[in-house]
């Protein structure tokens, strides 16, 4: 019995969410007194042995270049076989785009009980109960997994990465890889931007900014903070900003350390996408805006005056430190 952790990579680089699942999986393994092992698929350029510092003793690598693109069907077969070969009874994924494509298939293949969207370590004192977010972050469910094999996918940004010491041994795994039935014809990466779901800080704008021509003040603030940018749904719908920036119940769900909402009213559907943020700052000229009820800090004021000052003050802070 062991815990197998899926290490997601893109273009050879290990994703930040993978470090979270490694830390989480290793912690779960030590809680159960079993080994924690990783698995990585495709061509990698990062030093994967160094991932041992997150608590895994061994990393299985299937280096076949048919695995350079994530294909749910092909990946599921390889991961399920690796789980069987290594005697894993718990398999951990990130609940990111890759996890959403692959984890459920792996679970079905192994007839494993699945908890998708976990947000805490399982309680294993009496059975195996995993806490997950439900109702778009408005509540949690404690889910008991009753099958011998278990698959968990962990919400990104919900478990703190801890690096210790150690190197993992790499085990080259030879598993037959099918040719994907899905033929990828183009990949369009959003370049030069921090992916929204991985960002520590997110600066977000709503209809209060009046029009796309006014986004400069928000982009300046985001740049100063090294933040990703987001928007409310009407802003995405009106094409003021690209639709992949739309956060909320029907958009991207995020959980950054800091979420700064500018000119956003805080409708319940918007909150559903951002309420897992650790600290929420709201800048809105209407003191009655519902967002203030969900905020940690707020300024009742005109965004066009407040935001440039905020950027300037952050610049000062950075200069002083």
């Amino acid at each position: 019995m062991s815990v197998l952790i899926f290490i997601d990579q893109a273009d050879g680089h290990v994703k930040k969410s993978s470090l979270e699942v490694l830390t989480y999986g290793a912690k779960l393994a030590s809680q159960l007194g079993v080994a924690a092992e990783g698995i990585v698929l495709g061509t990698v350029s990062d030093d994967i042995a160094a991932l041992g510092k997150y608590g895994v003793s061994k990393i299985h690598h299937v280096s076949n270049n048919l695995l350079d693109h994530v294909d749910a069907q092909v990946y599921a077969k390889v991961i399920a076989e690796a789980a069987n070969a290594s005697g894993a009874s718990i398999i951990i994924f990130s609940h990111n785009q890759t996890g959403k494509a692959v984890a459920a298939r792996v679970a079905a293949r192994l007839k494993a009980g699945l908890v998708a969207g976990a947000c805490a370590l399982p309680d294993t004192t009496n059975g195996f109960v995993v806490k997950k977010t439900v109702f778009s972050g408005k509540a949690f469910a404690n889910v008991s997994i009753n099958a011998p094999i278990k698959v968990i996918s962990l919400n990104p940004n919900s478990y703190t990465t801890i690096a210790g010491e150690g190197t993992a041994t790499i085990n080259a795994l030879h598993i037959a890889v099918d040719t994907p039935k899905v033929k990828v014809t183009a990949v369009n990466k959003v370049t030069g931007e921090i992916p929204l779901t991985e960002a520590d800080i997110v600066v977000s704008g709503g209809r209060g900014l009046k029009g796309p021509e006014n986004w400069g003040i928000l982009l300046d603030l985001a740049k100063e903070l090294g933040a990703a940018t987001a928007c409310s749904r009407p802003v995405g719908d009106a094409h003021w900003r690209p639709h992949h920036e739309h956060v909320g119940q029907t958009g991207v769900q995020i959980a950054p350390n800091l979420y700064i909402a500018i000119g956003i009213s805080g409708a319940i559907q918007h909150l559903a996408g951002v309420n897992r943020s650790k600290v929420i700052v709201v800048i809105n000229k209407d003191p009655e805006a519902p967002f203030f009820k969900a905020a940690d800090y707020g300024i009742v004021g005109d965004a066009f005056e407040v935001v440039p000052q905020l950027t300037a003050e952050i610049k000062k802070l950075k200069a002083a430190n």
Partner: protein, 247 residues
Amino acid sequence: MKILVCVSKTPDTTSKIAFTDGGTKFDEAGVQWIINPYDEWYSLVRAIELKEKDASVSITLVNVGGADAEPIIRKALALGGDEAIRINTDSSDPYYIAAQIAAVAKAGSYDLIFTGKETIDYNGSSIGGIIAELIDVPYISLATKFELIGTTATVTREIEGGEEVAEVALPLVVSCQKGVAEQRIPNMRGIMAARTKPLKVNEPEAIEALTNIVSFELPPAKAGVKLVAPDNVAELVRLLHEEAKAI
């Protein structure tokens, strides 16, 4: 061409989320039920568009749920499905639900199966993947575009840090999100027609649930907002740096 569209019943997005029976049951008092928005706005509408282009397309809706799901199934039929199957059981276990749908999918040999990207209650994003695995066909997760020429689909899907365009032959399972189609409102004719469209009730297959919900919890209430005067932005930065340690 046969399309199977999965429709789930979820609480309206403005519903107050509360629990009863010592936190073990969702409090349904005053809750309005809707078709899961991803199912309604994207997968169902895209299926209808495909049928509008090609009259030989038939659309079957499938729901796993009790009799109380019938109003939302009728609404989906009013939007445009040809017939519906309700599998008369309820569960929160993704494997159990998906395996019920997979049994319907196998029996009806559908060319295309659509789900929403997730339901807005359990947020698992797992039903499509499980169905695809159980019937052994490709799975396109988080699609933002879906085109069909003959029996080959061209799809755009969300991946880590961007999107990917791919071609794949049917049969296929696709989970749909924003971009695939635009929301529609049912019209009077559709509502009238939906009343007489077939809605078949199947008893569930004997499948074992692999998980169950033990209890629910609400997040701890926020301590309350700390307001800073608009002419004192420096104070906000100080608080974020020293107190919240967020910058």
